[in-house]
Amino acid sequence: MSNDEMQELIARRAAEELKGPMVVNLGIGIPNRIPQYLTDKQVYMHTENGMLGIGPADSDDLDPNLINSGKEPVSEMAGASYFDSAQSFAMIRGQHVGAAVLGVLQVDQTGRIANWSVPGKDIIGVGGAMDLLEGAERVICTMTHTTKNGEAKILPECTYPITSERCVDMVITELAVFKFEHGTMYLTELMPGITLEEVRTKTRANYIVCIEK
């Protein structure tokens, strides 16, 4: 499977988690691919640069001043609103956003994630990641199961600096879906054609197999 195909598979599965009425914040990377798979009209998308109710970009009528947090062009849905950055983050930090879907570099077996800094590289970007971890009611992480070099990203402990002490609720990869409850990681779903053995060899963390579907 190409990297592109993996990302599409993950985004499609993540879209199934988003049922309205709900306000969702989508991060940069794989999460930005989710909107095309959303069917529920009552899933309202929030972007931290100051908008609720983003829709797909209209390629014939792009507005350079209408973007999402990934600086990609978007459009206004009916009922959309604009607000400043302080109010946008008050929505997040004040727990008014129902779910955040984030890209992740590493996740540990208790559900803590690392997604903002790599040791040895400059610490120069954090954006809204830490705010979303503290404030979103539900956090879903999307990532390829291993790095491009095949190294495990699901680990006993993150080797990169963590984004928050808060544990995420779910991790979706091209191989499997994991859920976290009370510091324990559960493998709840295998992607089509994937075996437990394949997941085991590519995951360096402890988890309990508890297939739901």
Binding site: P64, Y82, S85, A86, D122, G125, A129, G135
Partner: protein, 228 residues
Amino acid sequence: MGKLKKDAIEALQVVKNGDVILVGGFGLVGSPLALIEGLTSIPVGELTIVSNNLGESGKGLGMLLNQKKIKKAIGSYFTSNRDVGEASKRGEIELELNPQGTLAERLRAGGAGIPAFYTATAQGTLLAEGKEEREFNGRKYIMETGLRGTVALIRAYKADTLGNLIYYKTARNFNPVMATAADYVIAEVDEIVAPGEIDPEIIVTPHLYVDAIIKTTKILTKGGVVDL
């Protein structure tokens, strides 16, 4: 006429060496591009820039960075300009990274006379190092301080001559909150109208926050930044 200035250079006369300058924008969107270009052409340096990003490579605040006029930058996402990491490695610039919500809230607090506040964001992470931690109702928080500037450079869509402002779509971002948090606030706008022509119900930044207004000379188009 009062707050109306002829151009960016005239409006920027107040800027001095070592000032703390708040600059609106999320990348180039909502960025006061004419005022930033003005800053690159006046003899001031040792500036502290507070802005979410430092523009892009060679664009927006990226120009000012390449001129080595920025001593320190406070922002949340410098990754969008590859020159920032390089300048930091060479020791040419000090960077202070804030979570984006913390940056916005520090400005809001600064503008509202609030010296400090507690937030859960960044608690337990590298960005909490050296910050006071305190527990409220069983949850841990860290203390962050309010942030103010000497001068704020903001971009709005329309002003009246009193300085009331409205914004355009996601070009609003940090601009309204920065307008509250500096001693001298300069607004760069697309259109200037007479008082009364903007419906009072839709004014986002009331005029008491704004000290100077200029009409922009630069707009962001699909093809990039264009001079008017």
